[in-house]
Every structure is written in C-alpha cells, then in structure tokens.
C-alpha cells in the first residue's frame, strides 16, 4: 500500500511524574513503578519511570523556583550550567542530557508526562504537533480502547500559547492531564483512570514494535485558541469568578452571549467572541498566577496516515 509512514521502533520510552510536585497521581504512579516496574514492562521497550522535579515533590509544591514545565526553552537548555541558575532550569538541563538532547536523533522516542488539574477535564491527552502521525495514531488507539469513556485531545500547537514542556525533549511527547483533583490530594478514581490510559498507550507501542500496521485514521482534537484571564480592576485584583454555568463545563460549547464570569456582587459577564468555542482548563488553581481563567479551543479533525515500523 502506498503512503505508509515508517517510524523506527519506539525503543526508549520514559514516564515522567512530579513535573509539578503537588500533582499526586503521576508522583504516586512513577514512585510505584520505580519500585516495581512489572506493570509498565513491554517486550522490546525500555520504559523508564522518572521523577522530574524531586525537590518540588518533597515539598508537595508545584515548583521551587520556576515552573519546570515552562523551562525547556532553547535559551535555558543552551545556557551555561551553574549553581546560580534556578533549580528547575538546572533540572531541565539535566533532563535534556538524560532524555535528549531535544531535537537530536539520540533523544528518547516517547515521553509521557503525567499531570493533574483542578479543572473538570477528565482524561485529556495533550498533543504538541498536528503533524505527529505516530502520536495521532496512538491517541486514536487510546480513544478507541477506553470508549465509551471519552479522552479529549488538546492540541497545543499555537505560535504564542505553546510552551516548552519537559516532555518536549522527546521525539514524540505526550501529556496526560487528568482531573478534577485538588493539588496535594490523591483520589483513587483519578489515579486509576491515569493508570488505564497509560496501559493502553504502552500496549499501542508494543503492537507497533511488533510490526502491526495502523491504517489511516482521523482524530477529533481541540486546538487551543485564546487565553482568557479573569476580569481585573485597575490595580490588577481579580473582580470576578468563573460563572457557575461555566464552572466544571470543560469541553462543552460556549456560545456568544453565554455566561462566563460572575462578579462578587453577582453581575454576569458574558462571552463576546465571534463564534462557539470549547473552553478547557476552567478554573485551574495553578493558572491564577499565569493570568488564565480558562483557555478557548476550536474543534478540528486531523488526519493521520498509515504507519508501521521500519
């Protein structure tokens, strides 16, 4: 058959937990697998569980100096190393050395980065490039495997909104964002969902490495569009909260005129965009300081060509 993309076997796979030290599902799963890796073992694959930000994990805090999941910029990775650098920048350089270098042929094939959110996002998969057919096929496989439960795919490919993640060191980076879960809390159901998604992901890799050809497919994704901040006064103080009608409605349509924020004295502020959008990361605790109440997305269908191993 024509038009089958060939990829090398995915031999080196990493599973990152604790990129944010208070997102407990990933921390717990990775620590578990460091002690006993049987569950993540797949024939012909080296699967390496790894705690990316041990100091933040120890303090059960998102980060110590700066957000590790924003630290993998070219500037940071190429800066001369030194103890005076923020802890997370030093860490990014170390991680790049072990699992990268980012952009080179030596980089790890796949990295799964495990995250939790206070938003009601369910089990979200995060895709960084619309042209990564290997990842698209994997996500298609996962979505089919967990159906009828849903697994939305968030595409963060955007000139301004894309950020330099820990997983971006690999050839095929995949984010797993599971919520809602408060920071610092471990909920069994959230933990188990993450575990199941990862199981299917590793199954896909094993099948791929065994030579299975995956036929062309399409994947419905939500492409990130616009960051929406809280309304603020002239001093920068937040003056409204996510409206009760929007709270917990991640991935549901938000139409022009729909309630969006509610001021402290009860006034409703409405969405004034041109068309329907699909908000996500609604009321994520860590994003108050990043000036983000939620992010809007637009639905898109991506096509993935057939793939098989070389």
């Amino acid at each position: 058959n024509t038009n089958v993309s060939c990829f090398h076997e995915a031999r080196r796979v990493a599973i990152f937990g604790g990129t944010h030290g208070n997102e407990m599902s990933g921390v717990t799963l990775v620590n578990l697998w460091i002690q006993n890796g049987k569950e993540i073992h797949r024939k012909g694959v080296e699967t390496k569980p790894f705690i990316t930000n041990p100091r933040a994990v120890e303090k059960c805090t998102r980060y110590v100096d700066t957000d590790l999941n924003r630290a993998f910029t070219t500037e940071n990775l190429s800066a001369p190393s030194g103890d005076d650098l923020p802890y997370e920048v030093q860490r990014a350089q170390q991680i790049n050395e072990i699992f990268g270098p980012k952009g080179s042929p030596e980089a790890y094939d796949v990295i799964f980065d495990l995250h939790n959110t206070t938003s009601n996002m369910g089990c979200t998969l995060i895709l960084e490039s619309s042209k990564d057919h290997f990842n698209l096929q994997m996500m298609h496989y996962i979505k089919k495997a967990i159906a009828p439960d849903s697994c939305p795919v968030l595409l963060t490919e955007h000139p301004l909104l894309k950020y330099s993640t820990s997983r971006s060191v690999a050839k095929h980076p995949i984010g797993l964002e599971v919520g809602p879960q408060p920071q610092g809390v471990l909920r069994s159901n959230i933990f188990e969902s993450m575990r199941v998604v990862l199981k299917h992901a590793l199954d896909f890799i094993e099948l791929f490495n065994e030579g299975l050809e995956f036929p062309p497919c399409t994947v419905d994704v939500f492409r990130v569009s616009e960051k929406m901040d809280y309304p603020r006064d002239t001093n920068g103080n937040i003056i409204a909260m996510v409206h009760p009608n929007l709270q917990d409605c991640d991935w549901e349509p938000l139409n022009p005129g729909d309630p969006m924020f509610q001021t402290f004295d009860g006034t409703t502020l409405r969405y004034e965009g041109a068309g329907t959008v699909y908000p996500t990361f609604i009321n994520e605790a860590a994003y108050y300081e990043k000036q983000q109440a939620f992010v809007t997305t637009r639905r898109e269908t991506l096509a993935a060509g057939a793939i098989k191993k070389t």
């Binding site: 980060y63 408060p182 920071q183 471990l186 909260m241 108050y288």
Partner: protein
C-alpha cells in the same frame, strides 16, 4: 431543658476572619471584598463587626502557611511563649491577633470570633467549635440549618479544654470556624463563595436579632463529636502512603462507616477495611492539608443535644451589663486601635493591590 430560659450578654463585638490558611480562598475573597468596601468596622445597632485577614503573608503567596500552621498557634502555651527574631512568623502573628481580638480567656476578648475555612473534603457547611454547650454557637447553627436549604449544615465538636484549644476561633468568648467544602485549595468556586456569603449573612442576622431582644426557643440539635483520626497506611521505611481513600468512601463524609466497610485501596488494588468495633461518622475525608498531619480521615459520634431557649440581657437586667457610656468608650478604644499601626498591618494585604495570588509554592 425546654421551659428553662437562659439569659446571656449581648454579642456586640464580632470578628470575621479569613485567610487563616492563605490558600483557602472563599474566606480570603470574602474578607477582601468586605475590606475593599471599607467595612473594616461596621457598626449598626447593637453590633460591631471587625473584618480581619488573619495570615496576610500566606495569602500573598497563596499557601496554607509560611512557616507553621497559624491555626494551631492559639493554645495558651503558644500565646504566652516568648518571641525572638527566630520565632516563626505565624507565632508572632497569633500573638498579634490575640492582642487584637482577645486576650483569650479575658473579659476584653471579642464576643464572637468566626473564622472562615475551606476543605477539599465533601463536607458541605460545618461549624466547628470546642464546646457542645455554648448556646450562642448552637443557636446560630440551628438558625443556619433552617435558613440554608441548598447545603447540608452540621456542627462538629472537638472536646478540648480552652487552654488546649489551638485555633483562632478559641480567642473569642464564643467562637467557631465555618468550614465549607469541597473546594480545591488555591481555587475560588462561585457556588462555594456564595454559600459562605450566605452563611455569614445569616450568622450576622441571628446576632442582630439576638441583640435586639428576640427570644430563640429551645429544642434539639445533632452534634458530631470528634473521636479519633485515622492515618493512611504507610511504607515502613519511606513513610510514604501506600494506599488511597477507597472509592466507596471518597466524598462520603458523614455517611456512617460500619465495621468492615472499605476505607482504603492499596496501589495494588487491595481493599483495607474499617477495623473499629463502633460505627462512626467520617469527616475530613481526604483533606489535602492533613496528609502531612497524618490524617486520612477523622471519625465522630453523633448525638442529639438539647438547647435551652435563650435571649439577650435587657438593659439594667444584670449588674455586669455595661452602661452605654462605657460601651461608647470601648468602641472609641477599638477605633483607636484600628487606626493604629498594628491594625493597619492587619488591613494592609486586604487593601493594597495584590494583583495576583502570588507564587504558588
């Protein structure tokens, strides 16, 4: 109990505190809004309300505390301990708050201290206090139950003597925490904030009615008395937890836990059951801040408590009722303190523009 009427002094001086834990945002926002509207000290007939941001530094950083948990710093021992430049911030602060709202145990203390909190546990609205026979608190509880139909309202009693009582609300002559969940720390949910605003409003309504001479009839109320805490199973060497709250217990605060009911699920899928012999009511199930305190859940007994009919003292009724001249003098003193440096520091973080919630550490 019914038929006996208890006469009590008016509750004329009320303190409303938020941000005792800097990342419990309903109280932070409620206090901030009140302070913004210049309601540092509100005086209507019969009642003055002082609004306080308890831990401004922790609020700035959006953390529970900076060095030590402020809401454990109000025991008699901590309040009377010496202060050096090595003393943790929260202990310095607890003594400051004790000066302003107390001193704890003295006649000068606020009549009522109400401290606003959130929890990640599914607890609805709870009043938490150290006494199960403080008629003011119990009547406020019953009033809230009757006025608020959208959310369960409960009363939790920690049986500790006053000098061992460790939280901010123990500084007032009467006091309780209002704890509302579930809400993740560092997040404001509009419905939870509305509930807290409603609860505070009804509380102040009750106080106003009480001070105006309204008689509140006696009756019975249900009270949960704390019995014990249960920790997570932990790894012997690392002390890390080896199980999570079982899915059948998660979010089931105040649903009776019987012997052999599931409590934990280990990471290898095994169910650990409740080994106690007495059925008890769980609460604070999976509260984030309690992992470090070794508490996975707390357990309580429920019982019915009889409360008498109560009303406030009429003028001239009892010898110790203040003359109106004394009362005015006292209010001037409070105002003076309010404008003083100490109070300004209290108000600072409420009024200056803290545009972001600060670094999440």
């Amino acid at each position: 109990m019914e038929g006996r009427e208890v006469v009590l002094p008016t509750v004329s001086r009320v303190a409303l505190c938020g941000g005792t834990h800097g990342n419990e945002l309903s109280g932070v926002y409620l206090v901030r809004e009140r302070l913004k509207r210049k309601r540092k000290v509100e005086e209507e007939d019969h009642i003055s309300v002082v609004t306080v941001m308890s831990n401004p530094r922790a609020v700035q950083q959006c953390r529970r505390y900076t060095e030590t948990d402020l809401n454990r710093c109000f025991t008699h021992a901590t309040l009377s301990g010496p202060v050096t430049d090595k003393t943790p911030y929260e202990i310095v602060r607890s003594q400051e708050l004790n000066t302003l709202l107390g001193p704890k145990g003295s006649p000068e203390a606020m009549d009522l201290v109400c401290d606003l909190h959130n929890t990640t546990a599914n607890m609805g609205l709870c009043l938490i206090a150290y006494s199960d026979c403080d008629w003011i608190s119990l009547h406020i509880y019953r009033y809230l139950q009757r006025q608020m139909s959208d959310i369960p309202v409960r009363f939790i009693h920690f049986d500790l003597p006053l000098n061992e009582a460790y939280s901010l609300d123990s500084v007032g002559k009467h006091g309780f925490a209002i704890e509302i969940g579930p809400q993740a720390h560092g997040v404001v949910r509009s419905n939870i904030l509305s509930t807290m605003q409603e609860g505070v409003q009804h509380m102040l309504e009750w106080v106003h009615l009480f001070n105006s001479g309204t008689q509140f009839e006696g009756g019975k109320v249900d009270v949960y008395t704390m019995v014990k805490n249960v920790d997570y199973p932990r790894d012997f060497e690392t002390h890390g937890i080896t199980a999570a709250i079982h899915p059948q217990l998660q979010d089931r605060d105040f649903c009776l836990l019987r012997p052999n009911d599931p409590v934990f699920q280990t990471f290898s899928g095994e169910t650990l059951k409740y080994k106690g012999t007495e059925p008890l009511y769980p609460f604070f199930i999976n509260e984030c801040a309690y992992y470090e305190k070794g508490i996975a859940l707390s357990l309580a007994r429920q019982r019915s408590v009889g409360i008498p009919s109560i009303r406030s003292e009429r003028e001239g009724e009892q010898g110790k009722r203040k003359s109106s001249a004394d009362e005015m003098e006292e209010e001037e003193t409070i105002k003076g303190e309010m404008e003083g440096e100490g109070y300004q520091k209290l108000m600072e973080y409420g009024e200056e523009s803290d545009s972001l919630n600060g670094q999440h550490n």
